[in-house]
Symmetry: D2
Subunit: 161 residues, 4 copies
């Protein structure tokens, strides 16, 4: 059994047609798993639904505590890309003995042209095979939590040495 | 560097609007990798573009030979689901020392509602971490080549013991 | 109130993922009207769900009778493109005093890249403004029933003089 | 020949994946006409690319002047929904003898679930059959410029008497 914690981010943004702007509603995770015809046993729980630029230390502590306390030892977290690396670091310091893979999207899933489904397939597969640790899965690649940064000019995650 | 061999299958079927039926054109792989914002170094080569129900032993031998002769030791193969297990067996007997992951789709990528992008993310990630061997990645899960079958009633790949 | 009669055609084809081929299920009309945020009062009725190449004279008579007998004087018909002109001719001879607009699609709506939504917007608007008669609405254009043919090489409807 | 003037609005909003917010790039009109397999002769010109809440009197005057001066007597205008009625009024006072249809979308076309293609089919058909005047085509319906308002609670255009 794999636990999927939803925290929001671009992944789950939708378009509010009355206000004419981006907003958050319910997560698209169940719909995406259905689309992917996933037959993995998962437990999807929404912890928060926020832009990762607005994620506070308290929010991050909620993520860490949930990862520590959940029964599952394989965890996928959907997260905004801007501060994904910070949350990965908090998890590395606060959770032991579990395989945690963070992923997200550059384009909302609700847009037809999203990378979200690709990234979800990636994260869900990696969490089943990687040894305990905290990882980021983006752009078809994966990185240990302390060997990656998001390049804000290109939007691409890249290795740091 | 990862090699992606394209063989056709539902994954790459399109709709021929003049004939009013399904057909094959060019592979959608490059477009899918772009959509997934993949930054993995890949070498995409189309070996054939056929329905896997029509794949002959000679076709299968082409797949095996290409996997054996290519420079890359990590290989993803897109393949129709109906005979994916047969091709996996041929590869297991004919190629040594490489990690080969076969994947496909239940719905053509050209349809908005395809599982193809999810499966591609899955296969491309698994091929980077699994030890040498031949695997099938479908439904968010992966199987060794000789421990899986496609359930034709449900369309789902499942473990055999 | 506008009556929409569904007869099948490419418009409503779906992909049967177990059989791996095109098939017909329920019509996509209600979903398409929702997507278009249509606020037109419509009455959607499925008369048949077939490829128009298989439409018989008896089928065509069913369409004519329903158009004659329905309470509405504005009627949209979704229809396969291959014999749309033949059905239009049958309607012109069999129904008087009503505005009937036939439309269809070159690509199934279930495919992301369909022209169906565009054509539906077109047909639904035209039926509200054209005088009684039988018309075909395709490719952003509309034609009187006896001044049009489908060019089978290009898939485009064009005027005949 | 029909002239299509693009002014922006939700219709043409895209998602800027580096900034993580909605923005405007090039218009999607040519792609939409291709998708709809439109064979109508059109002349697409982008006058501005703005949210209609930010449209000034000077912007509106640009729209009016272009409609007055263009050679075509059939004009479609894509426009944000919030002030579409104001621009329609300006056109009614400033342009004579032409058929002008304004349309827009509640969801950006770049989102898979947009009403834009439906509305474009609608507007492009109506402009070919309605007598000279200024109209708004939304929700499968059309209204004369002075008999309509946008209900901001529901996002739906409705008749006023």
């Amino acid at each position: 059994m794999i636990c999927i914690f939803v925290t929001g981010g671009t992944f789950d943004k939708t378009y509010d047609e009355i206000q004419g702007k981006l907003s958050f509603g319910d997560t698209h995770l169940p719909e995406m798993l259905r689309l992917g015809r996933s037959h993995v046993d998962v437990n999807v729980r929404t912890l928060m639904m926020i832009d990762s630029l607005e994620m506070t230390d308290a929010d991050r502590e909620v993520v860490v505590r949930n990862c520590r306390q959940c029964a599952e030892s394989c965890i996928v977290i959907t997260h905004g890309t801007d501060t994904m690396v910070e949350t990965a670091a908090a998890l590395a310091h606060g959770v032991a003995g579990k395989t945690i893979v963070l992923t997200g999207a550059m384009i909302p899933y609700a847009f037809g042209s999203s990378d979200g489904l690709f990234n979800l397939g990636s994260a869900l597969s990696l969490v089943q095979v990687l040894p305990p640790g905290v990882y980021i899965a983006m752009n078809g690649r994966h990185f240990e939590w302390n060997k990656v940064r998001k390049n804000r000019q290109t939007g691409v995650f890249e290795s740091i040495f």
